[in-house]
């Protein structure tokens, strides 16, 4: 047997596998065994960390969480408490409310029903003040409502302008003319007008409300665009379209300023960003701090003039006006701070409990398992 003796004559034939039984029969030098590689991965021996959940081992985690969360919570809580916020409900459901008369106003009522609400700020608002309108029980997050828009139309796409998406149905066309902007969201745009006056010794000083800068920059500059065409005349550009059913005026008459008119009207843009929850607020105006000497809004009397156009009574909605300063963490919300403090405390408490358990029974795990 040639091959046979070859296998035997070459003791090195199978040396490839150290210490291994090179198995005969393969013949020649190319001894190929099926022996699996002895690598950490294949033998499932990768260096590993094996945490064991016992009182002793997780103790530090609880204390660390507690120690981190409580200061954060206090920080957030303090910040939130420093925010000044004032809120007026002007829905007018109460008979005593000045706006009660406007309760059953309809979309197309002209002239608009107006009412004035006086209020007093107990504390002055030091920094910039944000003026919001708030709606409650208003389901802007309804599935069909959310869908009812055409983003490319709002982006200034001319073909979509004249031929809006099917999603806008039934607010897509009116009397065979395409609606611009189409859809239920646009159609139901909030159209109350709020004006703020400071009452100083019976004089009403109007407070400057800035209406620009309330929308996201990207929305104003990227997502929303007016249709393009010859010239900047929006009326011409929107030719061939009709206004949404509920609107008193077409979209190109939302504002006098050309860079806040049409689809890039910021009130419109803010409205189009549908709220997540049925109780929400939307930024309406900004009140900028004039100078460093004076607070933005001093404590004192103010009056709010409302052009009441937006009907919410039919679905038990509420309308509010909110004045609020703002911090790095947004508006006033004590929840997160309290949550952090609570969770931090619970963790700390649990840490103590576990420490006791560990102290009392925990030895067992280390010493009892190892009797010696």
């Amino acid at each position: 047997g040639k091959k046979n003796y070859k296998a035997d004559g070459h003791p090195s034939g199978g040396v490839g596998v150290p210490g291994g039984g090179a198995v005969g029969g393969g013949g020649g030098g190319a001894v190929k065994t099926r022996k699996p590689d002895n690598t950490a991965f294949k033998q499932q021996r990768l260096p590993a960390w094996q945490p064991i959940l016992t009182a002793g081992t997780v103790l530090p985690a609880f204390f660390i969480i507690g120690l981190i969360f409580i200061p954060i919570g206090i920080g957030i809580f303090v910040t939130s408490n420093n925010i000044r916020e004032y809120e007026i409900d002007y829905t007018g459901t109460e008979p005593s409310s000045p706006c009660n008369k406007c309760l059953n106003v309809s979309w197309d009522s002209t002239p608009p029903c107006t009412c004035t609400i006086n209020f007093t700020l107990e504390h002055s608002f030091e920094s910039n003040v944000f003026m919001y309108y708030g709606l409650s029980n208003f389901y802007q997050n309804h599935r069909r409502y959310v869908k009812s828009r055409d983003d490319s139309q709002l982006n200034g796409d001319n073909s979509s302008l004249l031929n809006p998406s099917k999603e806008c149905e039934p607010y897509r066309t009116n009397e065979d003319k395409p609606i611009a902007p189409c859809g239920a969201i646009a159609n139901s745009m909030f159209n109350d007008t709020l004006e703020l006056y400071r009452i100083d010794n019976d004089t009403r000083t109007p407070i400057t409300l800035i209406k620009k800068g309330i929308a996201w920059w990207t929305d104003k500059n990227v997502k929303f665009r007016n249709p393009t065409g010859d010239g900047n005349n929006l009326t011409a550009l929107f030719q061939g379209t009709t206004k949404p059913v509920n609107w008193p005026k077409p979209v190109y008459m939302l504002d006098s300023e050309p860079d806040n008119n049409g689809f890039i009207n910021e009130d419109f843009i803010v409205w189009m960003r549908t709220a997540a929850l049925p109780t929400f607020r939307k930024l309406y105006r900004l009140i900028e701090r004039k100078n460093n000497l004076q607070p933005t809004l001093q404590a004192g009397k103010y009056s709010l003039d409302i052009a009441y156009n937006y009907p919410v009574h039919s679905f038990d909605g509420r309308k509010r006006m909110i004045l609020s300063t703002i911090s790095w963490m947004g508006g006033k919300n004590p929840f997160l701070g309290i949550a952090y403090i609570t969770v931090g405390s619970i963790c700390f408490f649990l840490g103590v409990v576990l420490l006791i358990i560990h102290h009392k029974y925990g030895n067992r795990n280390t010493s009892a398992d190892i009797p010696n």
Binding site: K42, Q44, F69, H142, N155, A275, L336
Partner: protein, 1409 residues
């Protein structure tokens, strides 16, 4: 080109094959060209065209796929759509694509291997060129003539027509087919034998044979010559595809079956599909998920209906959008539409990727099991094979193991150990295999770096038999006599009967077999190519070098002999050949045969050649004798014997040599005896020794012969030839014919062959048993052998009570079972009283107290016949009730069918997870029936492996396979499945809570992209990694503490309530993840997706951290997968949110993520929510891990300890166990055992069946019942002794005294060892004991310390260890005494009832184990 023609006979199931070389006749096309497989191999499922439709069709058989496609299509209905329709299709398409790609890849690799095989070459005769030319395999057709050379692989099923061998023989190796490495002989068809040179062109015969079938062991047909003469064709004429030609220079034949019609391919069934237990459970939970989904949808639908309804008809709110036609939907219609919408939104609750993930995880698990080097066997160069890919986790839940014995527990390497010739025993003491020194030798060899061919090592055991000097002398003497007689022409009858028997005995050993002789100059070689994908080629030995030295000696010796010899029929002697020829090797179908032939050779009676009609035997003094073989009556399992009919060259008589199971052969001996008493004495002596051999665990065979007169032979020959030539019913006729000649035999002697236990079998069994597995051994061997092997491998313990069931009729069986059950039950009830003390002595498992329902010390032995009765529907429940109580069950003499019936019984009735392990064809049915079938790729071929789900090289590998891989696979998969449910439920619940705040309008705050891809991409990788790589407990601990395996058996990782716990946790977590952002952003200017994106992020963090809590072992892969997932999410979100300002309606999330990431609130929300969500789970797990740790958690802690302390602790845990081993060792390996047992045997045989017979003290409680032979009466059963070991205080023989004393020493030692360190182990315990009793109680309540607790509780009462020990011994003996009394009462009753029967029983020869 050669053409093949073929006609299908309509009326018969045969096929006609003609030569393809014949000129095409007029009607070639007329014969229906029904699909006749050509030799092209095609195992692929698809073609390029059919792939897509066929694969999709197959995938849609899975209900889940249909469901998801339905959901996706629902999105195309405008009224109900929730997502962009195209997007909704994406996940389904992705899943389908992944599966399709996987299928495609598998198919492609099949295609490649097909191509490789199809393009192998072989020589086919060409009509045009008038010679054999090389062709591809795929071009071979039926009717072609193929020529094959040595070591070539056979391309198709070929009828052998010519061979270069002068006798028309051809040897083939069937390793590729069935793994058997021995050579098999094939013969040229009879008529062509005479041809000097075979010329295909002159082949005009027609072959008529069976239709293609998958029976490898059968081929029938005949060849019709032009003359009209018919010749029968047998399996010996057929060369099977896939086999390799050996030892034959050149053969030629005609192709009968090609391609897929060959027997090899008809046998290839491919992998099987099984569904695991876990998967079944999971499917039930998937249904629960469906139910939950429906409830959620229904709830939402009703909620929406109410919401719409509250606004009334008139005052529709401005935010309720009417349908496209401007009309508002009625509340009812709206809720119906919404129902469909939310089904789409909530669809994720049914985990779409679950099935795909599980498949991926299982493939990876299989890969890792494959790669485990501990499951690799160097000796055979084989590793574990997973043949069923989808039941890996079943390995972790096995409750019952059904094992074959031979080849599974034992090596199936037979070593000739003892023999009896003519009533004289030759013990061959030198051959006692010394495991220790042999291993030492092996280590030495390894150490010196010698290339050790392992098989050579093995065969050394087989071959090298040191002859017994007395017998050798007799053989020499006999040969000398014969030589003298022959030289003086004396008749052989002058030889003394004993020498005559000795001579015949060795002749029988040498020639009564089917051993093939191989000379090393025709080396056997392995096919270089792995021919079949499924094939495992077991490499065999090739080396001869190491024996060269010895050979030379031998040659010198035989040369010397030959110098003295004269007149020998010098066919072929070893003298002529130079040392280079080397030693002859024997290839046998069963290892027993080879062992016998090697044994005979040790006595210088060696087989030197075997032809189809002649066997050459080389004898000392006489030279080579050639026996003309007239017939070989092969072995079959019904006759249990084989015979050869030969013409004796010295006497010219016709002799029949028979070799077979003693039970059969003993019955076939001459009924009356001319040599009278002497012969009778020999017979009974032989029987005695046979029993002894069996007690030793040896396999016994009887050798007998018969001398036929010419007339007798002639008479028999006639009928036999008839039988041989018949086609129909041939097997049956041959069987009858064999029965006619195998009678009136003369007993020559008996042999005892040892089948060594495989390495590590006792340890593995002990370890598996500690793991809570019940091990049943089902064997075809006789009871005595089986019982002894069972003792040797620790299946039965010597302090175990053995119940033996032997019944001769169903009635006795019923009575027996009833009695045993009663006994066991009464023992069980009395046992509960002193359970406390019992636990201390018996229960050394520290992790679990012995389950009270199973008596740990009970063994059941049942024989085949009784088993048949017990498996009757009326008795099976009782049998099972009894067997359940026993720690181990041993079924002897069971048929393959019975084996599978037992497995089926346990599987179905006990609803238990069963594993069957075996190596032979007789285990196939059992392997197929069991939930998990394991094959051992050993000596007996590949059939078991083919049928199995897993194939392992050795029995000991079962330990790691089950305890480590099984456990891991189970725990990984169980955790992954639970996690899947949790994950999806948690994610969907977020959407559900949102419905309360969006008027149940089916709106979702999570962007549809996130919603659809969350499962698929963002959260899938970590769970896959964990599913593949997590290790809850390290392998070393799992091996060291087998008890941990019980967690799988008890389904601890995935119990039904866990699904609901996970669901509740998911609900809680989703509430947290929903409401923290809700309150944070309440009444703020946040828009839907600026609010939904943090929720998605929080959900992702929570889900990943949840997995982190569940992950037990962290490698860099875990870390990186978690980090990758989070990074991927942010990356995708950022890219997606920046990609397009007007795309993706309705969400249009342009710049959302970018803005959020600049907002500190986002981070604060994302940090706190996961913490709150996971706090309860984390706390509960921590507290549970501290206060009530499970076994697995303790095991994990164990792995944390330093190696020294761990080993210390483990030795402490197992100290009793090792003591047991020592005890067993002293018991079973004490040299006195043999004689002791034989004493016992004799004593019993002398009909002294005293119930308290001390000799039977090996078992504590042995119940033996023997039903009567003659009268099959119901009440024939009787007890024969219930013996208590500890009670044997009155030993009659010194040896048993010695033994029992030794035993007690060990036992005392044990309890000392056990309780001393435990006392020392808890230095604080003494202080604590009185002071803080509650603490003690608490400690004892945790499972690890339950055992310790009992010790502690008792130890105050018992002053010293010794008293304690004696007390427990006392306690248990009291207990046994009670039982014994009861059973002896029983016995008395029986004896009164049937005194005569009892006496008769005493006389029956086999009375105890």
């Amino acid at each position: 080109p050669p053409r093949r023609r073929r006609r299908k006979k309509k009326e018969s199931k045969t096929r006609l094959v003609r030569s393809s070389l014949l000129l095409p006749e007029a009607e070639p096309e007329k014969s229906k060209r029904t699909v006749l497989a050509c030799n092209r191999l095609k195992t692929t499922k698809y073609t390029a065209l059919s792939f897509l439709p066929k694969n999709l069709f197959e995938q849609f058989h899975r209900l889940a796929n249909v469901y998801f496609v339905f959901i996706a299509l629902l999105n195309f209905v405008p009224a109900v759509n929730a997502f962009q329709p195209e997007l909704a299709l994406a996940p389904v398409l992705f899943i389908l694509a992944v599966t399709a790609i996987k299928d495609l890849w598998e198919d492609y690799s099949r295609y490649l291997s097909d191509k490789e095989i199809n393009h192998m070459e072989c020589l086919v005769y060409s009509r045009n060129e008038k010679k054999y030319i090389s062709r591809y395999w795929k071009e071979v057709k039926v009717g072609d003539f193929v020529q094959l050379r040595c070591n070539e692989i056979i391309p198709a099923d070929i009828l052998l027509l010519s061979s270069s061998d002068p006798d028309g023989l051809c040897h083939i190796e069937t390793a590729n087919l069935d793994g058997e490495t021995n050579l098999k002989q094939r013969q040229v068809v009879r008529k062509f034998l005479e041809l000097v040179k075979f010329d295909p062109l002159k082949f005009t015969s027609v072959i008529e044979c069976e239709k293609p079938n998958n029976d490898l062991s059968r081929f029938r047909g005949y060849i019709i010559h032009k003359s009209g003469k018919k010749d029968g064709l047998f399996k010996e004429n057929l060369l099977l595809r896939g086999c390799t030609i050996r030892n034959t220079e050149e053969v030629a034949g005609i192709v009968i079956y090609a391609g897929h019609e060959t027997k090899a391919l008809l046998n290839n069934n491919g992998p099987r599909y099984k569904r695991s237990k876990l998967e079944r459970q999971m499917n039930a939970d998937v249904l629960w998920c469906v139910l939950i989904l429906l409830i959620m949808c229904l709830f939402s639908a009703i909620g929406h209906g109410l919401w719409v309804w509250q606004y009334g008809e008139k005052k529709k709110p401005i935010f309720d959008v009417p349908g496209p036609d401007g009309k508002y939907l009625s509340p009812v219609l709206a809720s119906v539409y919404l129902f469909l919408t939310v089904i789409i939104v909530f669809q994720v609750l049914i985990p779409i990727s679950l099935y795909v993930s599980i498949e991926i995880v299982k493939i990876c698990q299989v890969y890792f099991i494959h790669q485990d080097k501990d499951l690799y066997d160097e000796e055979t160069d084989s590793q574990l094979q997973c043949r069923a890919l989808n039941i890996t986790e079943d390995l972790g839940q096995v409750q019952f193991i059904f094992s074959d014995k031979t080849g599974t527990l034992t090596e199936n390497k037979m070593v000739f150990r003892r023999c009896t010739v003519s009533g004289t025993e030759y013990s061959h003491d030198d051959n006692v295999w010394d495991g220790i020194s042999w291993r030492y030798y092996r280590v030495l060899l390894m150490g010196t770096g010698m290339q050790k061919l392992s098989t050579e090592e093995e065969s050394r055991n087989e071959k090298d038999i040191t002859p017994d000097p007395r017998l050798l002398e007799k053989v020499n003497e006999c040969a000398k006599h014969l030589e003298v007689m022959r030289s003086h022409d004396q008749p052989l009858s002058h030889l003394s009967p004993e020498l005559c028997d000795v001579f015949d005995f060795f002749i029988a050993l040498t020639i009564c077999n089917t051993v093939v002789v191989t000379a090393p100059n025709q080396p056997r070689q392995k096919a270089e190519k792995i021919f079949f994908k499924f094939g495992l080629s077991v490499l065999s030995s090739t080396s001869t070098d190491s024996t060269l030295l010895k050979l030379e000696e031998k040659l010198a010796y035989s040369a010397q002999m030959n110098n003295n010899g004269y007149g020998s029929q010098q066919g072929r002697t070893a003298v002529g050949s130079a040392p280079g020829e080397g030693e002859l090797r024997y290839e046998a179908e069963s290892p027993d045969e080879a062992a016998l032939v090697y044994a005979a050779r040790a006595y210088n009676c060696s087989l030197v050649g075997r032809l189809s009609d002649q066997v050459s035997v080389e004898l000392p003094h006489l030279g080579t004798l050639s026996f003309e073989v007239l017939h070989t009556l092969g072995f079959d399992s019904i006759r249990k014997r084989m015979s050869v009919v030969v013409r004796h060259p010295l006497t010219d008589e016709i002799n029949v040599y028979t070799k077979g199971a003693d039970s059969v052969v003993m019955d076939l001996l001459l009924p009356y005896d001319p040599r009278g008493k002497h012969q009778k004495k020999i017979r009974s002596k032989t029987q005695n020794y046979l029993n002894l051999y069996a007690v030793d665990g040896l396999r016994t065979l009887c050798i007998a012969k018969r001398v036929l007169s010419k007339e007798e032979y002639g008479c028999w020959l006639k009928t036999h030839l008839e039988a041989e030539s018949s086609i129909e019913n041939r097997e049956e006729l041959l069987f009858q014919s064999a029965l006619r000649i195998e009678k009136n035999l003369h007993l020559l002697g008996a042999t005892g062959i040892e089948d060594r236990l495989q390495d590590g079998v006792p340890e593995t069994i002990a370890s598996l048993r500690k793991a809570g597995l019940q091990i049943w051994v089902l064997t075809g061997d006789k009871q005595e052998t089986a019982v002894n092997i069972a003792y040797a491998c620790k299946l039965l313990d010597h302090d175990e009570e053995i119940i033996t069931l032997n019944a001769e009729s169903p009635e006795t069986c019923a009575v027996l079972l009833e009695q045993c059950l009663q006994c066991v039950e009464s023992k069980f009830s009395s046992n509960t009283i002193d359970e406390a003390t019992g636990n201390m002595t018996i229960g050394f498992t520290p992790f679990y107290p012995p389950p009270s329902s199973v008596l740990s010390s009970l063994g059941l032995v049942i024989d085949g016949r009784t088993l048949a009765y017990a498996l009757e529907p009326t008795l099976e429940d009782k049998f099972l009730a009894l067997a359940k109580r026993c720690r181990s069950v041993l079924c002897c003499r069971s048929t393959p069918l019975q084996k599978s019936m037992v497995v089926k019984l346990v599987r179905d009735k006990l609803k238990a997870m069963t594993l069957a392990i075996g190596d032979g064809a007789n285990d196939v049915s059992m392997i197929q029936v069991a939930d998990v079938g394991v094959g051992i790729s050993g000596q007996e071929g590949m059939q078991a492996v083919m049928a199995s789900d897993f194939a392992i090289p050795r029995f000991r590998h079962l330990e790691k396979l089950l305890l480590v891989h099984g456990h891991w696979c189970y725990s990984r998969l169980a955790n992954m499945v639970l996690y899947f449910f949790y994950k999806n439920a948690m994610f969907v619940a977020l959407l559900f809570w949102y419905q309360f705040y969006c008027g149940f309008s089916g709106s979702s705050m999570i962007d549809q992209w996130y919603l659809i891809f969350f499962n698929l991409f963002f959260s899938s990788l970590p769970q896959l990694i964990t599913g593949v790589l997590d290790k809850d407990v390290p392998a070393e601990v799992l091996i060291a503490v087998p008890q941990l395996y019980k967690s799988g058996q008890n389904m601890e990782e995935y119990q039904p309530h866990m699904f609901w716990m996970n669901m509740i946790d998911a609900m809680y977590q989703s509430l947290v993840c929903f409401f923290i952002p809700y309150f944070t952003y309440y009444d703020s200017e946040v828009d839907i997706f600026s609010w939904g994106t943090p929720i998605t992020t929080i959900a992702l963090f929570t889900i990943i951290l949840h997995l982190a809590i569940e992950t037990k072992t962290w490698t860099f892969l875990h870390w990186s997968s978690c980090i990758f997932s989070i990074v991927l999410f942010f990356f995708v979100a950022l890219v997606y949110n920046a990609s397009c300002p007007v795309c993706h309606p309705p969400s249009n999330p342009y710049w959302t993520m970018e803005r959020l990431m600049g907002d500190p609130m986002f981070y604060f929300t994302c940090i706190i929510s996961p913490v709150v969500a996971l706090l309860p789970r984390y706390c509960i797990l921590t507290l549970q891990g501290t206060l009530f740790p499970t076994q697995l958690q303790l095991g994990r802690q164990l792995s944390k300890l330093s190696p020294e302390t761990r080993t210390q602790l483990l030795t402490k845990l197992n100290v009793k166990d090792t003591a047991c081993q020592t005890r067993l060792f002293t018991d079973s390996f004490s040299p006195s055992l043999g004689s002791n047992a034989s004493d016992g045997y004799k004593a019993n045989n002398q009909s002294t069946p005293l119930p308290a017979s001390p000799q039977t003290g090996e078992s504590l409680f042995r119940e033996h019942t023997k039903a009567e032979h003659k009268t099959d009466q119901t009440a024939a059963a009787s007890h024969q002794g219930a013996v208590l070991h500890e009670e044997n205080k009155l030993p009659t023989s010194a040896s048993s005294l010695e033994r029992s004393v030794g035993f007690h020493e060990v036992r005392c030692g044990t309890s000392e060892v056990e309780s001393l360190p435990l006392g020392a182990a808890f230095p604080w315990s003494s202080a604590v004991e009185q002071a803080d009793f509650s603490l003690l109680k608490w400690i004892t309540s945790t499972p690890l310390f339950s055992h310790v607790g009992t010790v502690l509780q008792v130890s105050p009462s018992s002053l010293q260890n010794e008293t304690q020990d004696s007390m427990c011994v006392l306690g248990s003996s009291l207990d046994f005494k009670g039982l014994k009394e009861q059973s002896s009462n029983n016995l008395e009753e029986k004896m009164k009832g049937t005194p005569t029967d009892h006496c008769k029983n005493d006389n029956s020869e086999t009375t105890f184990l």
